[in-house]
């Protein structure tokens, strides 16, 4: 087919997720469940080969959240500074956090059995020395990891370099005023993501159809948020929920946190691993069963617990509704998390991802107001906005 149809700002945007992929052109958007018996590229070509053929490699932009992205384990010396700052940077770079370890208690933590893509070690301002010792090296010697990076006190860097093989040393993410410095670690992590993609056969093949760099989806979404009002009348402050198949992503306006974290981003991201409606369905159900309000919610939705054993469209809808409720619980003061958001100040809740194809605005509003009534005893009603056409991702992927 003649490729002259692909001209001007006409681009093909592809988002590969853990459960389905989306293919968007200027005039249409398609969404397909992935066929896990096929390689991603084969699967894509099989479903949308004609569309892909119409575009020049330069005009194809791909982002991916498949495989859940990179995983990190963070070792830091305090909750309020080193761990919080590294967590923030990792989340904003589209990386998933397996665990955070408070260094002084490192001996009490169990060693994750899964391979960790990158270990981040952080602690101390540059004028503070001698923070780390044997206990760190011991822990690392038992851990299975691919990369390790140090972003703490420059005085400790040489010692760590001597004791930890292949450790990357970057400038401190905590400056002398105890403020966060993001750029170096962020760049390192996004580059690592590129290398990871290039190493994964499956995704690597996608470079056959694009001449552009493949980015992580949450990174793209986070970049778009300052421009979200180009598509929707979203009123700041807002949160954006991307309830996916394997994980749930939350992007939020910085105004929603009262914090010592002063970054240049207007929006930050956090992730709940294993809170998704397909791949992580079992752990979602487990989280639900451990939430004291869920039974009331099920009653409110006029179903019983048996719905968890069902495989039906209705069961999926209920799971999605539960996911919204659980995520809101997790970021509220009802549960102490990495960060609690001032949910009473939220003006809009934006939902993107597959959920927008399944639930209606009314159904989501219903859950949201149930949450506000039960958990926050408030009649607050933020406006619910559905990103049904994936405008947010399209906006971001266009760059």
């Amino acid at each position: 087919m003649n490729k002259s149809t692909s001209q001007g700002n006409d681009k093909l945007l592809i988002d590969v997720g853990s459960t389905y992929f989306k293919v968007s052109t200027a005039d249409s958007i398609e969404q397909h469940f992935r066929d896990f018996n096929k390689d991603i590229l084969d699967d894509l070509v099989h479903r949308c080969g004609d569309t892909i053929d119409r575009f020049d490699k330069d005009d194809v932009h791909i982002c991916s959240s498949a495989n859940g992205g990179l995983s990190t384990l963070i070792i830091g010396v305090t909750n309020s500074f080193s761990l919080k700052y590294a967590t923030n940077i990792a989340f904003n770079s589209g990386i998933n956090i397996i665990d955070t370890i408070l260094y002084q208690n490192i001996e009490e933590y169990s060693i994750p059995s899964d391979l960790v893509d990158v270990v981040i070690i952080v602690g101390g301002i540059d004028s503070c020395a001698g923070i780390f010792n044997e206990s760190l090296y011991n822990y690392l010697s038992q851990l299975n990891y691919s990369n390790v990076v140090f972003v703490g006190s420059e005085q400790d860097a040489p010692v760590l370099k001597q004791n930890i093989e292949n450790i990357a040393i970057l400038p401190n993410i905590i400056d002398n005023k105890l403020h966060i410095v993001e750029e170096h670690l962020k760049e390192y992590l996004t580059n690592l993501y590129q290398q990871d993609i290039e190493g994964k056969e499956d995704i690597k093949n996608l470079y056959d159809i694009t001449a552009n760099q493949i980015y992580s989806t949450p990174y793209i979404v986070n970049k778009t948020l300052p421009h979200i009002d180009a598509r929707y009348s979203v009123v700041d402050p807002f949160i954006l929920l991307d309830i996916g198949g394997a994980t749930t992503d939350i992007h939020y306006s910085k105004d929603l946190v009262d914090d010592n974290l002063v970054t240049e981003n207007e929006y930050d991201r956090m992730v709940f691993k294993k809170l998704g409606v397909y791949k992580s369905k079992q752990s979602l159900i487990f989280a639900a069963q451990n939430n004291e309000f869920v039974y009331e919610l099920l009653m409110h939705l006029k179903v019983t617990e048996n719905i968890f054993n069902e495989q039906s469209e209705k069961a999926t809808r209920i799971l999605m509704q539960l996911a919204i409720f659980l995520v809101l619980c997790k970021i509220s003061h009802y549960r102490k998390a990495y960060i609690n958001l001032k949910l009473l100040a939220i003006n809009s809740i934006v939902l993107t991802g597959g959920i927008t194809k399944v639930l209606t605005t009314e159904e989501i509003e219903d859950i949201v107001s149930f949450f506000y009534k039960k958990i926050l005893t408030s009649d607050h009603k933020p406006v619910v906005v559905l990103d049904t056409n994936y405008d947010i991702w399209t906006l971001g992927a266009k760059g």
């Binding site: 010396v77 305090t78 500074f81 080193s82 004028s127």
Partner: protein, 137 residues
């Protein structure tokens, strides 16, 4: 010598905090000022990250006592804060109060220097004396 300072809890009285920052610097201290509205954990965490020798907390609006009761249990969770000099000042009770009762009470909460409605310069003189006594300088 490094000092972490700030105003504890929900207190937003900022004037003293600015003066403390300036006075400490004038006396040659390296100051890490967490400002108003600072929670106890942030104070201790800042001490860990900076390797500070002194923690100087102020409280003006009457919240001091509630927070001070939390000091010992929280500090006990940290493994390397035994040599930290702990100092508190400002208005440590609601109303004027009696220093003879207030000081022992706050020492019992875990503070080495207690400056209830004490002039800043006097308080900082005490601090320097204590540092000298402990041979830190």
């Amino acid at each position: 010598m490094k000092v972490v300072t700030g105003v504890v809890g929900n207190d937003i009285h900022v004037v003293a905090n600015r003066l403390i920052d300036l006075s400490l610097r004038a006396r040659g201290f390296e100051v890490f000022n967490l400002g108003v509205n600072t929670y106890l954990e942030e104070f201790f965490d800042a001490v860990v990250e900076t390797g500070a020798d002194v923690l100087l907390i102020s409280s003006l609006n009457g919240e001091a006592e509630g927070w001070s009761r939390e000091v010992k249990p929280l500090k006990a969770k940290y493994k390397n804060l035994d040599n930290l000099i702990m100092m508190i000042g400002g208005n440590l009770v609601v109303g004027s109060g009696d220093a003879e009762q207030i000081v022992p009470k706050y020492k019992n909460y875990g503070f080495d220097l207690v400056c209830h409605q004490i002039d800043l310069n006097t308080g900082l003189d005490w601090l320097e004396e204590l540092i000298e006594k402990r041979n830190l300088k």
